[in-house]
């Protein structure tokens, strides 16, 4: 009846060989919460599905040799959310992934799927960018480490070769007075697509002055974007009114959204500024130990 093949390899080598040898379109399957919807809608007609979830390490959370967290590419959101240590070190990344879909979707959705589906509005992606996460990519030519912001190249497109997939994500080791946060704006409280999303990660000194920052915006451009101009405004400052105003302006200037049913260009730019202020405030508070609760 159909020619769609399926394989669930148990090693990286086997998976890479299958992808490299596929005659037509081959798709990697993690949680399937994007892939199955696209298959069903007929938007995608692959010849081969390579389910990578049986590869050891692709699901799970561990500490790397440098002390930083390593998150398996296909680890479901529910498993990430349940990890207390990761929550304490990277509350922004965890809350961003946790925003995806329902409890049912959380049972399957992964960071790799969210990143490689390459939607500009993907919720965990601004947080991954802000964290400075590194994707460990495997393929026929071996293994390479790629900053996450180099993976998506446009809506639904990535820089990965046909025979490549992401095995895991490395987060940098966490020093003192460092924290991240993510907020998205949606018109309701659950189950919606971001009008704008913002992830910010900061490190402060003893006086609360920012020494390092990364700022990322979602849904205001064809891909999630880094906003180094906004990060530069934070560095060397506490979060005073002047810094917040400049951060707001930088986020608005970086946002190049489109008008669609979720919002106009003007509205999205404005929201980008407002979210940047709010997310920075949460990240600074967390870095100073003032809050460790969730932003939602």
């Amino acid at each position: 009846m159909s020619s769609l093949n399926y394989a669930a390899p148990t090693t990286v080598d086997e998976a890479v060989k299958l992808l490299a040898g596929a005659s037509g379109l081959a798709k990697v399957l993690s949680g399937g919460t994007d892939l199955l919807v696209q298959l069903r809608a007929g938007r995608l007609k692959p010849d081969l599905i390579v389910d990578t979830k049986k590869i050891p390490g692709i699901i799970g959370i561990r500490k790397g040799s440098d002390g930083g967290f390593v998150i398996g590419a296909a680890t479901p959101g529910a498993e990430v959310e349940a990890n207390a240590e990761l929550n304490a070190a990277w509350p922004g990344l965890v809350e961003a992934l946790d925003l995806i879909g329902s409890t049912q979707v959380q049972g399957r959705c992964s960071l790799a799927g969210n990143l490689c589906n390459a939607s500009p509005a993907a919720d965990s992606v601004p947080a991954l960018y802000a964290a400075g996460a590194i994707a460990v990519v495997v393929g026929s030519k071996g293994r390479r480490e790629v900053p996450v912001e180099q993976i998506p190249t446009g809506p639904g497109r990535t820089s990965l070769a046909k025979d490549e997939f992401i095995l895991e994500f490395k987060l940098p080791p966490r020093g003192p007075r460092s924290a991240d946060a993510y907020l998205r704006f949606i018109p309701r409280t659950e189950m919606d697509i971001a009008v704008v999303g913002c992830g910010i990660n900061v490190t402060l000194d003893e006086k609360g002055v920012c020494t390092a920052a990364r700022v990322a915006l979602g849904a205001v451009s064809p891909t999630v974007i880094m906003v180094p101009e906004a990060a530069q405004i934070l560095v060397g400052h506490t979060l005073d009114a002047d810094t917040l105003a400049k951060l707001d302006a930088a986020a608005q200037a970086a946002a190049k959204p489109i008008t669609d049913k979720r919002g106009t260009v003007e509205y999205r730019k404005k929201i980008a500024g407002v979210l940047a202020r709010r997310v920075a405030a949460i990240a600074f508070d967390r870095a100073q130990g003032k809050t460790n609760g969730k932003a939602h």
Binding site: N5, Y6, R40, S102, T103, Q104
Partner: protein, 161 residues
């Protein structure tokens, strides 16, 4: 490709089936195995009518391939009651009349069971967020939430069955 042979434990029983790659777990349950309790409301992960528990995790069976079931333990609505004895969530759905057309009910009951397996003492807010992926066009959710909170109390031994 020839049909794939899959072995899984479904509602406690080892089950073998054949399926095509593109058949979802929901297609397999309904059309291959004949367990038609799980419903297809949307086939896109939005409504939760197809909810099942796979190795302890609540998922939409419409967003999982049948072939992915290999080696997994799956609980569907048909496996929630203990023989003739209803699960407290089922009993309380009846008592509170937490259903009208009933299309969403299997998914809601499976999802509520998964919640109470993980968190025997949820707040109403936790229960509402947990069930946010289960859409019901009839009840307005209030009776559903009353039933789930009441079932939780029963399971903790704080209220009568």
């Amino acid at each position: 490709m020839a049909k794939q042979h899959v072995t899984a434990v479904i509602n406690g029983e080892e089950t073998e089936f054949l399926c095509e790659t593109q058949q979802t777990m929901l297609d397999v349950l309904r059309d291959v195995i004949g367990l038609t309790g799980s419903k297809e409301g949307c086939a896109s992960g939005d409504c939760g009518a197809c909810s099942v528990i796979v190795d302890g995790r609540l998922v939409c069976s419409c967003l999982m391939l049948g072939v992915e079931a290999e080696g997994k333990a799956i609980t569907t609505i048909e496996g929630v009651a203990d023989g003739e004895t209803l699960h407290p969530v089922q009993q309380k759905f009846l008592e509170h009349a937490a259903l009208q057309c009933g299309f969403c009910t299997p998914g809601l009951i499976v999802a509520a069971k998964a919640l109470l397996d993980e968190n025997p003492n949820p707040t109403e807010t936790e229960a509402r967020y947990w069930l946010a992926g289960n859409l019901c066009r009839c009840t307005g959710y209030d009776k559903v939430i009353r039933a789930v909170m009441d079932a939780a109390a029963v399971m903790r031994g704080e209220a009568a069955r």
